[in-house]
Amino acid sequence: MAITLIVNGKQHEVAADPETPLLYVLRNDLKLKGARYGCGIGQCGACTVIIDGKAVQSCDVPVSGATGKQITTVEGIARNGKLHPLQEAFIAEQAAQCGYCATGIIMSAKALLDANPKASEGEIRSALKGNLCRCGTHQRILRAIQRAAKEWRS
């Protein structure tokens, strides 16, 4: 069954069962590998994308529920060949160990800062409650997000 999706501003037709979690369509049909499988039931945040401005765990959304909505993945946030300020800040702060959780966290942080560029550290921590990091890189990640937020505001 053909499903129409708008991903990173581009329209795509995909042939998938409507119940298929969006994550697999992004990764396998659209070859966007930045959203990653971690748990399949919305508990870890590795697959986070932004749908209509909200951070959403794409493993937990049937593809049929995403039709007609604006889906943004981590591949769609760079502008004019330049990484997004959040991505730049992650590099500047060396905010990764294995990095597997990083893209999901960047998308959660982007949804937060888009809505509230003045988010405090507490609000950032709270917004990332659903994103797990196992390497213990949290403090660098928090610094990176605060660094990006500062740039955002200036």
Binding site: K33, A78, Q87, A96, R125, R134, G136
Partner: protein, 709 residues
């Protein structure tokens, strides 16, 4: 010829077992240097550090260094990437290989330019003679230049000449990883690739009694159902189809389960098991023993702990004409190939294993198992690549956990508050059941086949590094001491290497007990430790962390907040680490702040070292406050993150790391140094805060309440 002449001389690190220079390095005509590491990236930033070593010793810009993925068709065999040994094994090999390669290039340049070596200088691969004339590495390097055995005779640069070693060079892999570009084996997407899933038994030892395979084959997209004994897998066109088929199999398959798990999750079941006992340290001084004035005893435990990677294990395999190509995030491609060869019944040479990054593993997780899973499914669809990714519950229920442990301690103080006798007994399974053993196969699927392979006998890595007994021998100076390792042979739950192996529980116990003894002696915990330590480097990390944290002699908590210290030298031979943490106890224990001092000898990349140290501390706080694998008599019950909570963003403390660099000394393994000291520091901080001594990990709310009762 005498035997001595036949024995090859010992070369540094992994150069000793991979002795040819061209196994490690190639100087290319295009102005690049290819490096062939046998150690792999597991999130610790090792590939950046190894590049720095090569750039430094060869005198070339970092941007010229190309790292080849670890691959059994050409890489040196460095065994496992484990035990905080990548710098000391692989780094040492590359350091000496690059120094020798530079020397060969300089000699060749000297002869081409007709000058002596003393008249040459080299900058970024261009060699200049003082009197004029220059050549580049790229011009003079010939195919045969590095086709020779290393001598190990060319010394690496002295510390005073370092400019790349010791610099906080940004990680090579982070830009791609944060951009969302394909970076992991999970992201590999080959033309015509199919997707596989494995329907594991519901519990260890369960046998498949019935499965209607035709029912599964009829499902949309299903290409193959692979059944061999109690091993069941499915291959489908699409990943979602493979998952639907897996869920169907789980619903309709009938299994016969056998039980056999411990009666409770209390680690003390170990005390009733059959053990192999070994006294690993014994010291006797009768006059000192006679000064005993006060004796203390205590028992400490830790539960089974999961590696709990964020990205469940994954592999991609192709089977074509009896040859296999497998992409994996295994920590050891050669040991994996050894086991795969036995199960697939093909010569190792017919199996090519290519490493590709995975999510952080923190030890032996499902990576190797997934490689066999992919190979078995690929065999059913020759010529077509098959990608297998484990589901979250596969990882939680089938990974080999860090073993549960019990440590009993008894020590005596003299009237002056000095420890005069120390008796320690530890109970644990082996901490290594990795692939690559001579006998048996250590891969799950192999145990489930109709003609199953036996797991290999567990190997407890020997001292001085040790496995269950890693860091069991106190580094303090005690006149009387007896340490006994009780190795528990039966393994009711699958176990293997988890970051730091036995050091976590052993240091947790020793360092908690040191605080208990300090209190009994009426001494400050840091002063008490220093009293029993001679090694100046050990003293220096304790003094450094105390200074940084502003530790006040004899400081006491206030009934809610408190601070505690923990110290160890990892493996009694690697990095020195001292940690202080501050806790706050409300409904639960929160770790609010932490300070660490680390001495890992020569630091290759200070930011990499700090990142590992911060991460190690935070991961350990998670283990200590929250983590324990749950099971009943039949099944592992830990299946999702709800069953196995870990520390989250709203709970992590800031960590301040002080690095004591010793550029003149050899680098020491550092990635696992914080585990033991952190665990003890939390326990000691809790005691400092509320006067309750917690001895059983994890320190959940119930434990605090019962300790206060």
């Amino acid at each position: 010829m005498s035997a001595a002449e036949n024995t090859p001389r010992k070369l540094p690190g992994s150069l000793n077992t991979n002795r040819r220079l061209d196994r490690w390095l190639r100087i290319n005509r295009d102005g690049t240097v290819s490096v062939f590491p046998g150690k792999v990236e597991i999130g610790q930033g090792i590939l950046t550090a190894l590049s720095q070593i090569v750039a430094e010793e060869l005198d070339v810009g970092l941007q010229r260094v190309r790292l080849a993925p670890t691959d059994t068709s050409y890489s040196p065999d460095e065994g496992m990437t484990s035990g905080s040994q990548s710098i000391t094994d692989g780094g040492a090999a590359l350091r000496y290989a690059a120094a020798e390669a530079r020397d060969l290039l300089m000699q060749k340049a000297a002869s081409q330019l007709g000058v002596s070596l003393e008249q040459l200088t080299v900058t970024d691969g261009t060699i200049k003679a003082r009197g004029g004339g220059s050549v580049t590495y790229w011009d003079i390097a010939t195919e045969d230049l590095l086709k020779r055995e290393a001598t190990g005779d060319v010394p690496p640069k002295p510390a005073g000449q370092h400019s790349v070693i010791g610099a906080a060079i940004p990680r090579r892999d982070i830009p791609a990883k944060v951009s969302g570009a394909p970076s992991y084996v999970h992201d590999l997407d080959l033309p015509g690739m199919l997707h596989g899933r494995i329907a594991r038994p519901p519990s260890y030892g369960a046998k498949l009694a019935a499965l209607d395979e035709a029912d599964v084959r009829a499902m949309p997209g299903v290409v193959a159902v692979v059944r061999d004994g109690s091993f069941v897998g499915v291959v489908a066109q699409r990943e979602d189809q493979a998952i639907r088929a897996l869920n169907r199999i789980k619903r309709i398959a009938r299994w016969e389960e056998r039980g056999g798990l411990p009666e409770s999750t209390d680690p003390r079941f170990l005390l009733k098991e059959t053990t192999e006992d070994e006294v690993i340290s014994e010291k006797s001084d009768q006059p000192a023993a006679a000064r005993k004035a006060k004796t203390l005893e205590a028992e400490y435990t830790r539960p089974y702990i999961a590696h709990a990677t964020i990205g469940p294990s994954c592999a991609v395999a192709i089977c074509d004409d009896g040859r296999y190509t497998i992409w994996t995030h295994s920590q050891g491609v050669y040991p994996l190939r050894h086991d795969l060869s036995k199960v697939l019944k093909v010569e190792p040479e017919r199996i090519t294993i290519i490493h590709s990054d995975g999510a952080g593993c923190y030890g032996h997780n499902g990576a190797d198992d997934a490689a066999l899973d992919a190979a078995l499914l690929a065999r059913a669809v020759p010529g077509q690549p098959v990608r297998v990714q484990w589901m979250r519950e596969d990882e939680f229920t089938w990974e080999p956990y860090g073993p549960t442990m019990v440590v009993k301690l008894k020590a005596s103080l003299d009237a002056d508050g000095n420890i005069v006798d120390w008796v320690e007994d530890i109970w644990s399974n082996s901490h290594s059941t990795r692939p690559g053993a001579a006998k048996g196969v250590n891969l799950i699927a192999a145990w489930h086949l109709a003609k199953p392979h036996e797991p290999s006998p567990p190997r407890n890595p020997p001292l001085p590094g040790g496995g269950s007994h890693r860091n069991a021998i106190p580094i303090y100076e005690f006149p009387n001491q007896r340490v006994t390792n009780h190795l528990v042979k039966r393994m009711p739950l699958r176990v293997s290497a988890l970051r730091a192996l036995g050091a976590t529980a052993n240091v947790f116990a020793i360092e908690s007990f040191m605080d208990e003894l300090a209190a009994a002696a009426g001494a400050d915990p840091i002063e008490f430790r220093l009293r029993h330590l001679k090694d100046p480097r050990a003293r220096a990390v304790l003094e450094a962390v105390a200074a940084k944290a502003g530790w006040k002699k004899g400081e006491k908590g206030d009934g809610a907040r408190g601070r505690g210290v923990g110290f160890a030298r990892y493996k009694n031979g690697a990095a020195y680490v001292a940690a202080i943490v501050e806790v706050e106890i409300g409904n639960e224990i929160g770790v609010k702040r932490a300070w660490v001092a680390i001495d890992a000898g020569l630091v290759i990349n200070p930011d990499g070292l700090i990142n590992q140290t911060e991460g190690g501390l935070i991961q350990t706080v998670s283990w200590v406050l929250k983590e324990a694998v749950q099971f009943d008599r039949e099944r592992v019950l830990t299946q999702t993150w709800l069953d196995y909570p870990i520390l989250t963003f709203d709970e992590v403390p800031p960590v301040e790391v002080t690095v004591i660099n010793r550029p003149e000394l050899p680098p020491l393994g550092a990635g696992e140094g914080t585990q033991g000291p952190t665990a003890a520091a939390v326990a000691n901080a809790v005691h400092n805060a509320i006067g309750a001594r917690l001895r059983d990990l994890p320190f959940t709310r119930d434990k605090v309440i019962s300790a206060l009762a």
